[in-house]
Symmetry: C2
Subunit: 450 residues, 2 copies
């Protein structure tokens, strides 16, 4: 029998707890501040938006948090997600590197987002909530929340970033197939939305403002966020925990480098925090790299300071790398990476030098994506293609140096609903945006300093 390319886990190796990086970080991250008082926010401040169970997870410092049985039941349909060795791509690249990718595209919504959508809806349902509101950029988060809401009999209303709504009707349909309701953002349904002219391309920041505004007005409605917050990152750690177990099955004792794409930071954190623990506790020495687009270079060009998570300034102030909360990124295809900020936990780890960051142009990412598809048979999400492109550089460098490095890639989802972007790339008409110095200065100039 030939060498295996797919690694799974035995039933008794199933991951049953989420891993909380807060328990192992050398220094605690700065607390979120109330937007009015500028004092650290307490559980009560968050209660209008989130159920207590999630608020508890947001501030917990417990190392492992048990995954509830009904959530494990849903996970069981698609987890453990496969870890693949990219043997054919290695051959294609002529590299001595061993390349592995952890593939979240097998989930019901086609991305990692389901990992947190399911527990979020579950805890809301437990606390008597009947409706959830949220925003969506590329559409993957809206899809995941819509699906999870259908499972638990909760209503789901989604504000989709305008440019994504206009150019990706399939995304809207998929959310609707799962039973969710979709609004184009900025909408005329909220004060936050009305502040913008009709037809405005929108941004994640604006869409968050709209969803938060609606949730805050009704006690039976809560808001659900697909990234950035501690509890969201927590839920994603099933990815990295499984990957470590699967790499052991593949016979790898150590990993040289892990690449993940980073927009709000949740898929990235979910993959890498368990690897970071190995570095912090076990001295593993794995390089951990966040990859972002040059058109929205939050970690590589943004400033580390307090800023709002949304555009209207309704969320708590969070200490994070940011391009300014009213920054509107150019409409590149990796919609999930178009966010002005970055999860505070990821930002803190980058600031402490525990994690590196790099920015790539989108054409290089699509090139890697097409090459990967032809050898591995999976069309990656444009977001995930950023991680592939970064790994590809490394694999080609290893070809020069002859180093047999072990590279792990987070493949956060498939790109089957982003084929329009691939068509543009194949026809050579895809723009290669990068944020100019002028745009950067303008964006950073508008950040409120606490």
């Amino acid at each position: 029998m030939s060498d295996p390319v797919m690694f799974t886990l035995d039933p008794d190796e199933r991951v049953t707890h989420w891993y909380n990086i807060l328990a192992d970080l050398p220094t605690p991250p700065p607390p979120p501040l109330h937007p009015g008082t500028r004092e650290p926010v307490g559980p009560d401040d968050l209660a209008p938006l989130f159920p207590m169970e999630l608020i508890g997870q947001e501030v917990s410092t417990e190392r492992y948090i048990e995954i509830p049985e009904p959530v494990l039941d849903v996970y069981a349909q698609y987890r453990p997600s496969p870890l693949y060795r990219a043997r054919r791509w290695e051959t294609e690249l002529g590299t001595p590197a061993r390349i592995y990718y952890k593939y979240e595209g097998v989930s019901p919504a086609g991305s990692h987002k389901v990992n947190t959508a399911v527990p979020q809806v579950y805890y809301n349902k437990l606390s008597g909530i009947t409706k959830l509101t949220t925003e969506t950029g590329a559409g993957q988060w809206g899809t995941a929340l819509s699906y999870a809401s259908a499972l638990f009999g909760v209503e789901c209303e989604v504000w989709q970033v305008g440019v994504s709504y206009d150019t990706k009707p399939q995304r809207r349909t998929l959310i609707e197939v799962f039973g969710g309701k979709v609004h184009r953002s900025p909408s005329q349904l909220t004060e936050s939305g009305k502040a913008f002219p009709e037809g405005h391309p929108g941004s994640l920041g604006i869409a968050i403002s709209e969803a938060v505004e609606v949730a805050a007005q009704d006690p039976a409605t809560k808001y659900s966020l697909g990234s950035v917050l501690n509890h969201v990152l927590l839920h994603q750690t099933v990815i990295g925990q499984e990957a470590l177990l699967q790499l052991a099955k593949a016979g790898e004792r150590s990993v040289d480098v892990v690449y993940g794409c980073a927009g709000g930071g949740s898929n990235f954190a979910g993959l890498v925090f368990p690897f970071l623990r190995e570095n912090l506790v076990g001295g593993a020495g794995t390089r951990i790299v966040a990859v972002e687009p040059t058109s929205c270079p939050t970690l590589t060009r943004g400033e580390y300071r307090y800023d709002f998570g949304d555009t209207a300034g309704m969320t708590p102030l969070m200490k994070m790398y940011t391009l300014g909360h009213d920054f509107v990124p150019s409409p590149i295809h990796a919609g999930g990476l178009r966010y002005h900020g970055m999860a505070p936990l990821v930002s803190h780890a980058v600031h402490e030098g525990l994690i590196e960051a790099m920015a790539l142009h989108q054409n290089e990412c699509f090139e890697a994506g097409v090459e990967f598809a032809r050898s591995q048979g999976i069309v990656p999400a444009p977001e995930s293609a950023h991680a592939l492109a970064a790994a590809r550089r490394d694999a080609l460098a290893a070809k020069e140096s002859g180093e047999e490095k072990v590279i792990v890639i987070g493949l956060s989802g498939h790109g089957l609903l982003e084929l329009g972007a691939y068509a543009q790339f194949l026809s050579g008409s895809l723009e290669d945006d990068a944020l100019s110095e002028t745009e950067l200065a303008e964006a950073l100039g508008s950040v409120p300093v606490v």
Copy 2:
């Protein structure tokens, strides 16, 4: 731990042989005839189109045929495909039936078609072929052949049925991402295509004629067919063999009924032939049902007689259920089911009373598809939704009768590239075509009788 919903196989249970139903059928099916001489075709007649290894498989009566190692290597990336128990859908339906579905959507091209594309390209490559031509309807076969061709470094040219080409640009892009070249059929590149006016909606029959014509003109080019022929059905039997092993793991000793959708017959045969063997050899007593659309009711309303596989009459004459080789089905969304004929092996088994057939309207299928998506998290291909809808009828009948029956469904692929059809269904604007008596009479009147 809660009851499992997904069943896989251990590495040592991997299916290593294709199963050949010809070895177990009580009577042999009538042979294909040469279109000119009306005599049974021999290997030499097929040599211009297919490599000898595949011709050998086409006529073989060996029960098990070994799968070559390079093919197993590719299968290893997505096989065994999961067998799921649809627990949440059962609860939703309130049925005592136990419903299982075998899901081929995890393959690189999102459907069962990869199972035969890989060995077909492999054997062609072995015999020195540098280019393959084919047709595609819904686009899934073109995608699969394009992907398999990329793996083995073979050129791939695809004639896509006009209506599918026009309404599904994503399909074309996906074929191109994998490196294949796509033509709208009927095209101006072939004599067969030029016989039709530009903008004609096309049909699988026409597209086959075009691809065959091009392959026949160049010794280094061969033709590849995604369904109908014996060797294609043979390659698909990994599906049913795995399903039987997985059902045993799920603790099922017997199966009451198996539903699969049937267009050309390959996904259906791949699933059910191993179950048919259990009936023939082991007296299993499982009902086996082919589900087709009322707008293209080949098995339920067609005639069992010799007909051509294509429109131009270039293929051998095959004894099969047919609506006439110049029948052009209405442009329903289940493009993979829009074929005038049916695989001779499936036709023979239906004619002998070993397999049943039924026809459904497309709205009932989409309704079942949406319900299934909301409970199971998978948006089924419109083709596969036919099998779901048939199973749903049975599950609801079991609710009345209280019967704890075991139902197995072939879920041949996902519908993520068919969301336009779902949008139409959700908006209530989907037509509910059925072939009228007049249309049927007209179609059947044109069949040549041998």
